[in-house]
Amino acid sequence: MRVRVKDICFFSLCLMAAATAISLLFIIIGYILWHGAPAINFAFLTEGSRDFGAAGGVFYQTTGTVLLMFTAGLIALPIALGTVLFSHVYLGPSYKKTTDLFIYALNGVPTIIFGLLGYIIIGEGLHLGVSWVTGSIILAVMILPSMAVSIDEALSAMPHKYRDAALVLGLGRWHLIRTLLLPRSLPGVLTGLFLGLARAAGETAAIMFTATAFSGVGLPRGISEPVATLQTHILVLAGEATNPRALTNAWGAALILVTLVLALSLTAMFIRRQVRMEAEI
């Protein structure tokens, strides 16, 4: 009897928590839709911004965000993959624990720290300034841990017997990687990539003073030029605009950004589910 009461209490608590989380998500998305939808039209998506964001669109900001995001992914992916493969194939179990710890610790560093360090080390120290390349490197460092964790999960989920069965045939480490680990880690790589991209797209603090400029920016003509991003655009418009048109445009930009991030996260989730189903066969 008492157990049942406890069960019911626990169940309702869980339900309430879940309901809160889900409704919060819907409230936020609904709110952004409500305010942002009026701004969205063809011109908004395809034109550059004018008049400090009060007129024109967010074409350069959108492309800037996507550019930064993909460059960061491109830099981070091989490093994350390499780290994980290295720790799986060449390091003993105890060393692997140390690398894992390092990766998790890196994951917990507040992003503003990445921004500051990046500004000091890469921007000032290496004289790369506020630019596409500086921002990409910082974002890459930032999304590296979550990518590595996701790849590591995919590899750790592989039963040891496969590794043993490959090694016992006299396969060297490189061939073990090529014939077994790489194909096996592919879903983890994709999940990690998309989650990392989503995180990079949503990030503001780390790129605020390392990669982006607010106005007068078109497409960067080289990697040493700054890029415009949706994130900074929203931040500046929301903080400083007095013109109501500019505020609506900020909401419109937010809507685009949220759509982008959601699409990436959903893709990652979809791939992960496919993998689960495959693993259960």
């Binding site: 003993g92 179990p93 105890s94 040891h160 017997k161 496969y162 590794r163 043993d164 069965a165 490959a166 090694l167 016992v168 045939l169 006299g170 396969l171 060297g172 061939h175 090529r178 014939t179 077994l180």
Partner: protein, 260 residues
């Protein structure tokens, strides 16, 4: 006949507990050597140490020396991949890779250039024929290997090991999970392979050992109790534990009460 393996004061540890304690043993070149003994005696561990497959286990370490062809297998200059290609091993439970039957047979040789010249198809056919699986699978080489029965999977695992071209094959209880007929098929295969290569096979079936072995190594509780020619050991076991094991009665334990 010349010796192939020589173990000198070899101890094998998981953590701090020795699973094999100061074993001295030689295994002849050619023919079939059977390792027998009660469960948990350390048979698999001993077998796996012959091509260093224990090294993959986190807290494993060893003492003493293990020589293969008069060479220390822990020698710095020795290539581990080379050793494992010469000394193949098939686990107790066959572990097939996801992928087709053909993919599985050639898994260990896909990257070896000389083998590519010979042709993977040719090698696959030859080894599948050697294990007697060709007639059963030749018209579905490209279908998933997962669909095979356990006996077939075990033979495929042996074919996969043979494809690499080992001079020695280590087999860990290859028939333990098989029905009588599949077990007989494997025994016939092992006997056949024993004519052309060295086979070291772990088994706990006495009948199997009697049918197959040229030499026998009897292990109990991590010690080599007796080793030598099969005919001798089965007819005149010197060691009390061996005799009890062979005659099927439990060893005498003075601490147990006398049976009523």
């Amino acid at each position: 006949m010349s010796e192939l393996f020589r173990l000198t004061k070899t101890s094998l540890y998981f953590g701090n507990t020795p699973v094999i304690h100061e074993a001295n043993l030689t295994i002849k070149n050619g023919g079939i050597t059977c390792i027998i003994g009660p469960s948990g005696a350390g048979k698999s561990t001993l077998l796996r140490s012959l091509n260093r497959m224990n090294d993959l286990i986190a807290d494993f370490h060893h003492k003493g020396t293990i020589m293969y062809n008069n060479r220390d297998i822990y020698d710095k200059g020795l290539r581990l991949e080379g050793l494992r290609r010469e000394v193949g091993l098939v686990f107790q439970k066959p572990c097939l890779f996801p992928g087709s039957i053909h993919d599985n047979v050639i898994f260990g040789i896909r990257h070896i250039r000389e083998k590519k010249k010979e042709g993977f198809k040719v090698i696959a056919e030859r080894t599948l024929k050697a294990v007697g699986l060709w007639d059963e699978v030749h018209n579905r080489l490209d279908s998933p290997a997962i669909g095979l029965s356990e006996g077939q999977a075990q033979r495929l695992a042996i074919a996969r090991a043979l494809a690499v071209g080992p001079k020695t094959l280590l087999l860990d209880e290859p028939t333990s999970s098989l029905d009588h007929r599949s077990a007989r098929a494997i025994e016939t295969l092992v006997k056949e392979l024993g004519r052309t290569m060295t086979i070291v096979i772990v088994t706990h079936k006495l009948e199997q050992a009697k049918a197959l072995a040229d030499d026998v190594v009897f292990i109990c509780e991590g010690k080599i109790c007796e080793a030598g020619e099969a005919a001798n050991i089965f007819s005149h076991p010197e060691n009390i534990e061996t005799r009890c094991y062979i005659e099927g009665s439990p060893p005498l334990d003075p601490t147990l009460p006398y049976p009523e």
